[in-house]
Symmetry: C2
Subunit: 347 residues, 2 copies
């Protein structure tokens, strides 16, 4: 991609009659430069239309000026909404964002985090792991600045940004209970190693029951491999085939909720009259579905900016700062899927 000959730092230096060192200083706003020379250099820069070569700069600096964001699925609305915020926040700081999708592939996730093949392509990574175990996380390249999104717990070597999933899930469940529902189902449990996110929600679900002194209907806690529409639709169908179907469902994502509602309506049941449905994530889809979905809304903007902020801090630090647990706020947004028509409101 050499188009013609690019204007280099040296060209500018020559024209301005100074050394390249000085030009570099001016361009980067470094050090002390006399106002007069600064001006002369600036003039030369403008005249020549000089633009620094990012590649060369990065090579010399030993950094790439890019951060990677790794998510399991790009087309999951929750992630794409989050990504927007991250890109914005990073750009403000002069960083570019490389986006990667793992499809939840364990091997791919491990590779990324070991920083192997793409060494120096990014200076740090914001990671939303899916298939990655806590151990794999632990024996990663320790020099790679890392911020984890979602439900992992920090081991002190990275930052973790998320909401309080247990509290949020408890709150969602209590909302259902407050409606007078008695047969609550939960869709989305993942009772295995990599299902920590799901397990926290299940725990909140249980805690809500405990607080009310109510038993959890264990047979109504349904597992799903992913948190998407298909899974939600399937699980709901499964639930409806029981003798004693639920009158309310806590779905571990809005997509799951959308899938569940799809099945309910398809079977001629009314939401929320026959079955109340609550979701999680507050994605845009849920606001315009029929009926609109009651949900737990994490503060995505806050999650995005916090993650970027912490990562850049990590990248900039010669000695790694301690790994923090950072909690973004969330709130319950009540819509028609639990409250019925005309009673939409925000709590």
């Amino acid at each position: 991609m050499r188009r013609g000959r690019e204007v280099t730092l040296r060209d500018v230096a020559e024209l301005a009659g100074v050394s390249s060192r000085t030009v570099s200083n001016v361009v980067n706003g470094y050090a002390n430069v006399t106002e007069r020379t600064r001006l002369r250099v600036q003039q030369a820069v403008d005249q020549l239309g000089y633009r620094p070569n990012v590649l060369a700069r990065n090579l010399a600096r030993g950094r790439s000026g890019q951060i990677a964001v790794v998510v399991p699925y790009l087309d999951t609305p929750y992630f794409s909404e989050l990504l927007q915020g991250i890109i914005r926040a990073a750009r403000v700081q002069g960083y570019n964002v490389l986006i990667d999708q793992t499809d939840g592939d364990r091997e791919h996730e491990r590779m990324l985090i070991n920083h192997g093949s793409s060494r120096l392509l990014f200076d740090g990574v914001i990671f939303s792991p899916l298939g990655l175990s806590q151990e794999a996380l632990a024996d990663r390249d320790p020099a790679l600045p890392l911020v984890i999104l979602g439900e992992r717990v920090s081991d002190g070597t990275f930052d973790h940004v998320g909401i309080d999933d247990i509290a949020a899930s408890r709150q969602a469940t209590e909302h259902l209970l407050d409606l007078g529902r008695t047969r609550l189902a939960a869709i989305g449990d993942q009772p295995y190693e990599t299902g920590e996110a799901a397990q926290l929600r299940t725990r909140g679900f249980r805690e809500a029951h405990e607080r009310r002194g109510l038993p959890v209907r264990e047979d109504l806690v349904i597992g799903t491999p992913r948190f998407n529409r298909v899974d939600g639709a399937g699980a709901m169908a499964h639930l409806l085939d029981r003798d004693d179907p639920p009158d309310a469902v806590f779905c571990y994502s809005d997509l799951v909720a959308l899938g569940a509602i799809h099945t309910l309506v398809g079977r001629g049941l009314r939401v929320p009259e026959d079955v109340a449905v609550i979701g999680y994530d507050d994605i845009e889809d849920g606001r315009y579905s029929n009926p609109p979905v009651t949900t737990i809304s994490p503060d995505k903007e806050m999650i995005a900016t916090t993650a970027v902020e912490r990562l850049l801090l990590r990248i900039g630090s010669p000695t790694p700062p301690p790994g923090l647990e950072l909690r973004a706020p969330h709130r319950l947004i009540v819509r028609e899927s639990t409250a019925g028509r005309a009673s939409s409101m925000i709590t």
Copy 2:
């Protein structure tokens, strides 16, 4: 980001007892290297755990190994679905993908395409313009390899990948007409400079009417600023307030259709009995909505791979290849929003 000392090409050369040139040849699979030296070098590489420094390589080669993909909105399902395909296709070719979101901002789009500030950050760009005029496109940095997605027409200096929007829209409209509907509305027209995408759809809508010798109900052709749910919901409400509301609606995106359906159901109307609704894009949401949305399905995988393929070809060519018009296939997928329950099928 200097962590310890990295293994360099020279280290390998030293250990293998050859020059760095030879190591480079082996690593890149270049030129003729004796099987014996190749083996010796490979051994040294493995032993030292050498990994090439991408930054240095790119600087020397004068390219970045990255392509940029620019879309108006990341959280639009159509784009995020497309992006997945692009990322995959690029990775296969050893390219990384930089994603940028313009929010449809004209200035931002122009800046990107002029390649100014980010020179050498990416070697080419796949661009889905929104606010950019044909002229702005024309006076861009001519050296920047470019592939345009969507509805622009190539002026011969870039490639354009898309589906035949007129034909697709005509087909969608004819489907509605075939259902025996007589009062067809269209939601999504954008009768101004940057609304070329929308205008093609409107044209297809008209052509379908013409072919049947039917008049277009001009008052039922509604404009919307964007192609999203809110717009669809609003436009639909507007239509229903007419004296003579439509009995079928052609929506210029699935999101618009989802919004329209939301309004319809909210007003107690049945889809498709009272009003049939057809969308465009075939996003996943439309498959699990209530009712599932009949739609025009562009071959996204094909669009993605074609775009990447053409762009890399452009990047690799010393002399720019002629700008091509590339048409990906599309098909009509009939679901309940037009065909009614139980009559889902694919055409």
